[in-house]
């Protein structure tokens, strides 16, 4: 009796899971499906599958310019956030300084703040300094907002690092600089690569901050957004499908690195990941 109850209970839970999953992913599935639909966005179910929209997309100059712009922005923003985020993580892990607890919370702030606020405040700063808006300002915006990703990821890696290894290195005659490059960095390889992947992906489809800081050159999400005002075209479905696949690959890679590096991601990092998701 009780076992049948349990079975039906678990059936309900299973059904519930299927619904949640459908709710989350059905729109994306439809989008990908329509990118292959000859009739474009109208007509369900699709009768004729085609690659025409992808062909159009590949011949679309402005769209490709925006893709290249986005890649450029993501790559430089990644370099900036890592260059500033890794030392910040080291400081959090090793140094003792007044206001450390405050710094630790503040460094997370750009993650939690809505992108509108980050974007708006940077826009005001650039206005104040008479800086011309361009890709460079977007790069600065992304770099600022994503430092916290680099810091939290690398800090988590540092916390798991066995300090006696660094002592062993000093003991064996390596100075602090040599120890950092030969022991600390190799042991942080996974968190650093993970952070880089995540930052790259987040920057690639960032809208809120970019929206405020955009100059003449569009990034990919803004280009798409601009075209959407003139109505949905199947070409946009095609580019969205491509972005989806790339983001998926990057996120899966990041997650697998993380699991390999730490056994299981703990609850804290899940929350961080969720917060990061929210920002997009």
């Amino acid at each position: 009796m009780s076992s049948t109850a349990r079975i039906s209970n678990s059936n309900w839970l299973f059904l519930h899971a299927v619904c949640v999953f459908a709710f989350l992913y059905l729109p994306i599935a439809v989008l990908i499906l329509y990118s292959f639909n000859r009739e474009g966005v109208g007509g369900f179910p699709p009768h004729h599958l085609t690659l025409d929209w992808y062909r159009t997309l590949f011949g679309d100059g402005p769209m490709w310019d925006s893709v290249l712009n986005s890649l450029q922005v993501a790559a430089v923003a990644m370099a900036i956030s890592l260059a500033l985020g890794i030392p910040a993580a080291l400081a959090l892990d090793r140094a003792q300084f007044p206001g450390k607890a405050l710094f630790r919370r503040l460094v997370l702030l750009p993650l939690i703040l809505p992108g509108i606020i980050t974007g708006l405040s940077l826009l005001m700063l650039f206005n104040l300094t008479n800086t011309k808006l361009s890709l460079a300002t977007i790069i600065l915006g992304h770099g600022t907002a994503l430092i916290s990703v680099a810091t939290t990821e690398v800090f988590a890696g540092l916390q798991k690092l066995d300090r006696s290894q660094e002592e062993a290195s000093l003991d064996l005659g390596a100075n602090y600089w040599q120890t950092f490059w030969r022991i600390t960095v190799p042991n942080l390889k996974l968190p650093i690569i993970g952070a880089a992947l995540l930052i790259f992906t987040l920057s690639m489809d960032e809208i809120a901050v970019s929206f405020f800081l955009i100059g003449r050159d569009n990034t990919l999400p803004l280009e798409i957004w601009g075209r959407l005002r003139r109505g949905i075209t199947p070409e946009i479905n095609a580019v969205s499908a491509i972005i989806f696949v790339f983001s998926l690959v990057a996120i899966v890679l990041w997650y697998r690195l993380r699991v390999r590096g730490e056994g299981q991601p703990d609850v804290g990092t899940e929350i961080t990941a969720a917060a990061e998701g929210q920002m997009v």
Partner: protein
């Protein structure tokens, strides 16, 4: 080879290394050796927590010195100050003519074997051992031959290409040893390196480590909380208690003539007898014997093996005798520890050859010269 095989599992002679080179009874000649390391009035405190109080200690060339103490006694802190991972709050550390404590760890000709070995997980065994030489930019040909030699010495040549995670704890320990010794330090520090090993392997490694130290002739400072380990391996033991040195002496000396009640109790079993001396006669409860000690209260340490069980009829005038009732017997193989409730409320623990039958009423005797006067250790935390 079998004659020094211990009770545990090192009878497997194929596994044990260099055992044939172990000198049997060896009273090391230390008196002629020069001082290598000199710790002068070193103190350390973390905030308000005083960990070391004015420690002074000397280590001779080629000496095996053990710092023995309970956890929290400050022994690891002292080691870390010598290695350079901690700064002393006061005092100096000298190696020969060099002031060591002002140099960063990477300039000191001191290497450490860490408690958890601290092997570099991203490097192979071979690369781990080569680390110090590579950093020192030795020529690759020299590095290759020195690694080979070091790995050979610890019998790890077969695992040269393995990652540390793929070898056992005992093997990791040997690699850590090779990684330190390959740099030819003047002093090797070992922070409880055997504590992670199981009992049999541990006994085997004690013998091997001691033999290795003799072979390379480098001074070792070995930190442990295990008094038996300290006795087996050391030329001298420095007994540390709550940040102060209780006694520094050879194992035989510290066991035979403990300076303090704490030393007597920490190293081996002992009976502590509280007594009074009055005009040449010692009174400990119902026990009395003559002594040339000055009048006043006195504390004696009497080792259980120095108390004998007498048959009722024996009469030996030089011995102190006391009647008692056995309350407990703990079998230890060749011997047993017998707890005896004596007249006058005194309880004595006696070590005697294991008997076949339970005991009841016994007559105990000991020689007054085996009652070693010790100072009462100051009450500390």
């Amino acid at each position: 080879m079998g004659h020094f095989v211990t009770a545990g599992g090192c009878s497997n002679s194929a596994k044990s290394m260099i055992t044939s080179e172990i000198p049997m009874a060896s009273a090391p000649e230390l008196k002629s050796r020069t001082t290598l390391l000199s710790v002068r009035k070193v103190a350390k405190q973390f905030g308000k927590n005083v960990v070391l109080k004015e420690i002074s200690l000397e280590v001779a060339e080629g000496e095996f010195l053990t710092i023995l103490g309970e956890s929290g006694s400050g022994k690891t802190t002292l080691l870390r100050i010598i290695a350079g991972f901690e700064k002393a709050s006061a005092g100096e550390v000298w190696m020969g003519e060099d002031r060591l404590d002002l140099q960063p760890p990477y300039r000191r000709r001191v290497n450490t074997v860490f408690q958890n070995y601290a092997l570099f997980p991203h490097l192979t065994v071979e690369q781990n051992v080569a680390y110090g030489l590579r950093v020192a930019k030795r020529p690759e040909s020299e590095i290759a031959s020195r690694i080979a030699e070091a790995l050979e010495k610890v019998k790890m040549s077969a695992h040269a290409k393995s990652k540390p995670s793929k070898i056992s704890g005992g093997q990791q320990q040997r690699v850590a040893l090779a990684r330190a010794l390959v740099n030819r330090p003047r002093l090797l520090l070992l922070d409880e390196p055997l504590s992670a090993l199981d009992a049999n392997l541990r006994r085997q490694m004690q013998v091997e480590l001691k033999a290795l130290q003799r072979e390379v002739g480098i001074s070792f400072i070995f930190v442990t909380h295990d008094q038996e380990e300290a006795m087996v391996m050391s030329d001298r033991i420095a007994l540390l208690r709550s940040g102060e040195l209780e006694q520094v002496a050879t194992p035989r000396e510290i066991y035979g003539r403990p300076a303090t009640a704490y030393a007597a109790q920490f190293i081996g079993h002992t009976n502590l007898l509280k007594g009074d001396v009055k005009s040449g006669v010692v009174c400990c409860g119902d026990l009395t014997w003559t002594s040339d000690r000055p009048d006043g209260p006195v504390l004696f340490s009497l080792r259980p093996e120095n108390i004998r069980l007498l048959s009722q009829t024996a009469s030996l005038p030089t011995l102190v005798r006391v009647q008692g009732k056995v309350v407990a017997q703990a079998f230890h193989g060749a011997t047993e520890l017998i707890r005896v409730q004596c007249a006058g409320g005194l309880v004595l623990v006696v070590r005697a050859p294991a008997s076949t039958s339970p005991l009841d009423e016994v007559l105990l005797a000991f020689s007054p010269i085996d009652a070693i006067p010790v100072t009462k250790s100051a009450e500390r935390i």
